[in-house]
Amino acid sequence: MMRPTRTAGGVAALTLALTALAIVIESPAAIIAAGSLSIFLLWRAGRFSRNLHALAASLTVSRDVNRTILRQGAEAHVRVRVDLAPPPGMEVRVRDIPPAVAVGTAPLAESGETATYTIRIMAPGRTTFGGVILSARDTYFSYDLHIRHLNKPSLRVFPVRAAEGGGGREGSGMQEFEVDRKANLEGPTVRGFRLYRSGDDPRLIDWKISAKHNVFYVRELTGLEGGTPFIVVDLPTREEGDHETFARYSMIVADAIEGAIESRTGCSLLVIAGGEVTRFLSGTSDVGEAFAALGGLVPVESRAPLYRAPGSAVLSTRARLPGGGEGPEKAYRARLGRVLTGFVRENRSPFGDAVAAALARVEATEVHLYTLARGDASHLAQVIHLARSRGMRVVAKMPRGAPIPPGADAMEAI
């Protein structure tokens, strides 16, 4: 339902006051004043309604889920892109509605933006998204329209096994969960399924589901819940410290990689040096290969400095800052947001693209960023914002007292 804003409320109150005055003093001029303000509000409401129709008709939502077949309780990463043509003078935001049986909250998105969030499906069966809420507002009215039919894709959720769920079978009547008796003997069980990607192990292809959907699906095992750890190592530059510091840093990074590979089934590794990606390994289980990628962790010359450039992810965040304030300040913020958005679209950095491509390849939910955090930290800021824009948590691991890169979720001293 259309809601009046503070301005419309003020005009309505003025109309009532003029109406009362017209009755008391019996003035035709007061009647004209009251009547014209009433007609004015009705006209604005009609215009808002017409604009809202046009806006809703122009709305397109593109929603991608990393897995459409998954196990109950497993996480799914959702990316929603919203495109629409807002009429002049209208502020528009769109919020995605997760499935009713899911836990997770979607952020607000504006036209042309992609919102990323994570949901956890809590009930088995086939489910769909709840659609989107289109929030429109002009000076006089606002409206939250729940568009339910934009609910693709549907998700298929398998029930968690009785043993995993902790539910007893005795006296429970009908069997509620599927039971895989061999699973206890076979190690990791299947957590969910996702589409096959180039480079996946062919042994992980699930032929039954692939045949049913006519596209390759691979199994994801419970041992990989949360994905393999993604370790980002920032190689120090020559001017950043002494030999003892480098040796200690090298030892800590090597221990972390070795520990990650031994405790899980693999480790994804990204090695950067300033604004340059020197090596990327996706899900490697080979300690030797990982150490070779680090190149001995010797200090390097910075060949591609970013000169404190914030990068497209940071600029996108700034462009989305809420437009608070009044009058000129609000107009300034809106204009700055448009300039930054335009700048983001037209200026892409090779470093940002390379890091984004690496982040897209890994299944991690957490990034461990190892750095000495000295000198220009713009490349760190870009990595952090790109990871966060994909819904990943970033833990910066750096020497105590070093400046914490902006945007990191947590910092651990090394």
Binding site: T7, G35, I39
Partner: protein, 96 residues
Amino acid sequence: MTDRRFLILCAGEVLVVAVGNLLAALVIQVLILAAFLDDRRGYPILIAAVALYAAVVAILGHILLSLLALAIALICGYAALTLHDYRLTQWARGSA
């Protein structure tokens, strides 16, 4: 709209009431609303509606009857908006 513009609107309405004459009140009212608006697309429609209402007031010549005519017009407008809103909601549900 800032609070200052709303205060200007209030002051303008006081001027409209103070003028007393129907035609002068109509002209001043149109000017005040034009100054009040940022975006004047479709403004001639509003002027026509206000002028029509002024004609109704002049013809009826009675305050309460004029208010009754206004109330009827507003109820009709509200009904049209509600119907529009209903159709939009049906579309959003995917059933239209």
